[in-house]
């Protein structure tokens, strides 16, 4: 579980200064990196043979992740400070690396373990990267960036259903305990990145 104090500090920072270009840029860098990783994975597995109805969910999630990235790209008031991108890349690096491992040749389409990892990593991202608690109560609810964050988070919950159903029903020889351990492992990874991100958001 992510320390609630980290959410409070990030929210207080935003309440004090508003959604400045720096704040928006930090948030969008994280979300875009996470969503690009998940979209890349979905683009890699959407033509797995015999997927049946699951293929539609995979294609749908791929499209919605791209939509979210596009929405963020359009609504973010981007900062011109290149150091933000550098620091953001450093914080997000564990996620970038994990998605790189999933996509490494021969790729998830031909590597069941990588495919399973892609699902657990996607689950962890959609479930644990939650930004609604950093939105201050007194912020303008019509602010386009706030609206975008809310829509993306609500959509994350819906998309998560694909990962939940796959994790529960996917045919694998891995024992249940091992599968749960893999899920938990990626949750810890995402929690680590997101905790550091929240601290960065709260920093001056």
């Amino acid at each position: 579980m992510i320390d609630p104090a980290l959410y409070d500090q990030a929210r207080d920072r935003i309440a004090a200064n508003g959604f400045t270009p720096e704040i928006q840029t930090k948030i969008s860098l994280l979300l875009c990196a996470a969503k690009n990783g998940n979209a890349l994975f979905h683009s890699g597995v959407q033509w797995v043979p015999n997927f049946g109805v699951v293929q539609q969910f995979i294609l749908s999630q791929y499209s919605r992740e791209i939509e979210a990235v596009t929405l963020l790209g359009r609504t973010t008031h981007w900062s011109q400070n290149p150091m933000l991108a550098t620091e953001g890349a450093r914080i997000i690096a564990p996620l970038t690396l994990a998605w790189g491992q999933v996509m490494a040749p021969p790729g998830p389409m031909f590597n069941p373990q990588a495919a399973y990892r892609g699902i657990t990593l996607g689950h962890a991202q959609l479930a644990r990267i939650r930004l609604l608690p950093v939105i201050p109560e007194k912020i303008d609810p019509q602010d386009p960036y706030v609206v975008a964050l809310q829509r993306i988070e609500q959509e994350n919950g819906r998309m998560l259903q694909t990962q939940i159903r796959l994790l529960k029903n996917i045919g694998t020889e891995l024992p249940l305990e091992e599968r749960e351990a893999l899920v938990e492992q990626d949750q810890l990874l995402v929690d680590g990145v997101f905790s550091e991100f929240l601290a960065w958001l709260a920093a001056a």
Partner: protein, 331 residues
């Protein structure tokens, strides 16, 4: 919070009070956690008890399985936790989702119990509960956790409480949103797919059992508690006046007082499990706490005998009578 391992799961718990004293274990409902029993620990520890509360799997800071969690696993976990902590027997007080776990534990691990307090709970899914559960699950999956949270406040709390706390609710929802994970809630709710009614096994519960139900609880209404009362011979049903589903949160003083009286009866061997029905005094300082009940406790209205005594103000007007049939038109 200290932790124990249960398989590959981590379970966070809080145990307060001196070793050697009788233990009360509290189990919470969905979207809640062990912290909510701190008030209860503060009440019972100075009164000579130890209080054990823990985050059930899928909640709070304990592990949150994604793939599978059988309903029966919760009772197995409690058995394991008690063993790990060196607690041979405990009093168990549980509410709502925790209440089902409490009943299951009492059925399968009854030897580890001194007593059972089952609050705002059920032993089987009535058709109403079945549909309500499906709607809650649908709302959680299709709209999200904030929707479920918004739905639960009016289902759990009274209008008075909501009016008094309206400004605090957004902050409480935010804390709940941070502390809970939608997928873990969903997993707990989906465990009901394989839920088999506990009703046929309730007769196996022989420990003193206090069943507590809010007067106005429309989430788990009287019929749910009546089933439990009827099937457990060593039980009593206690109705909490003007209470809704989450009376442990809304009326902690009243609830703690009732549990305290029950435990005193159990420990002094004065408990009479006779399946009788009582009403809890709404003043926890009142001398008489369990008030006798008149009438049918399964009804929301009480029909007075035609000329019998009634506290209700009687109208002086004559009772409406059926009009005589219209006369046939004569030609």
């Amino acid at each position: 919070m200290p932790t124990i391992q249960y398989g590959h799961h981590q379970v966070n718990y809080e145990l307060s009070g001196e070793a050697g004293r009788p233990v009360i274990t509290f189990l919470n409902g969905l979207t809640q956690n062990a912290n909510l029993w701190k008030t209860y620990a503060a009440h019972f520890v100075p009164r000579g008890y130890r209080v054990l509360a823990y985050d059930m799997l899928g909640q709070g800071r304990s592990s949150k399985p994604v793939i599978d969690i059988k309903l029966s696993m919760h009772a197995d976990l409690l058995d394991h936790l008690l063993t790990e902590l060196g607690i041979e027997k405990t009093h168990l007080a549980s509410i709502s989702f925790g209440g089902i776990v409490g009943l299951d534990f009492a059925i399968r691990y009854g030897k580890r119990l001194h007593s059972l307090t089952a609050m705002s709970t059920f032993a089987e899914l009535t058709p109403q509960l079945d549909l309500l559960g499906a709607v809650m699950l649908q709302g959680l999956a299709e709209v999200g956790l904030p929707y479920l949270q918004s739905m639960l406040y009016p289902m759990n709390m009274s209008s008075d409480w909501i009016a008094a706390n309206r400004e605090r609710i957004p902050a409480m929802k935010r804390a709940g949103y941070i502390g809970n994970d939608a997928y873990a809630m969903q997993n707990l709710m989906e465990s009901f797919v394989e839920f088999q009614p506990l009703t046929p096994a309730l007769k196996k519960i022989t420990v003193p059992t206090l069943v507590m139900n809010g007067e106005f609880d429309f989430f788990t209404p009287r019929e749910c508690h009546e089933t439990i009362r009827r099937e457990i011979a060593n039980s009593r049903l206690l109705i909490i006046q003007r209470a809704y589903h989450a009376f442990t949160l809304e009326m902690p003083e009243v609830t703690m007082r009732q549990i305290e009286i029950f435990l005193q009866q159990v420990e002094s061997d004065t408990w009479q499990g006779d399946q009788s029905v009582w009403i809890a005094a709404d003043d926890p300082t009142a001398e008489t706490q369990w008030l006798p009940l008149a009438g049918d406790w399964n009804r929301a209205v009480q029909i007075a005998p035609p000329n019998g005594p009634s506290k209700a103000k009687r109208t002086t007007a004559a009772a409406p009578r059926r009009k005589s049939a219209p006369r046939k038109a004569t030609s």
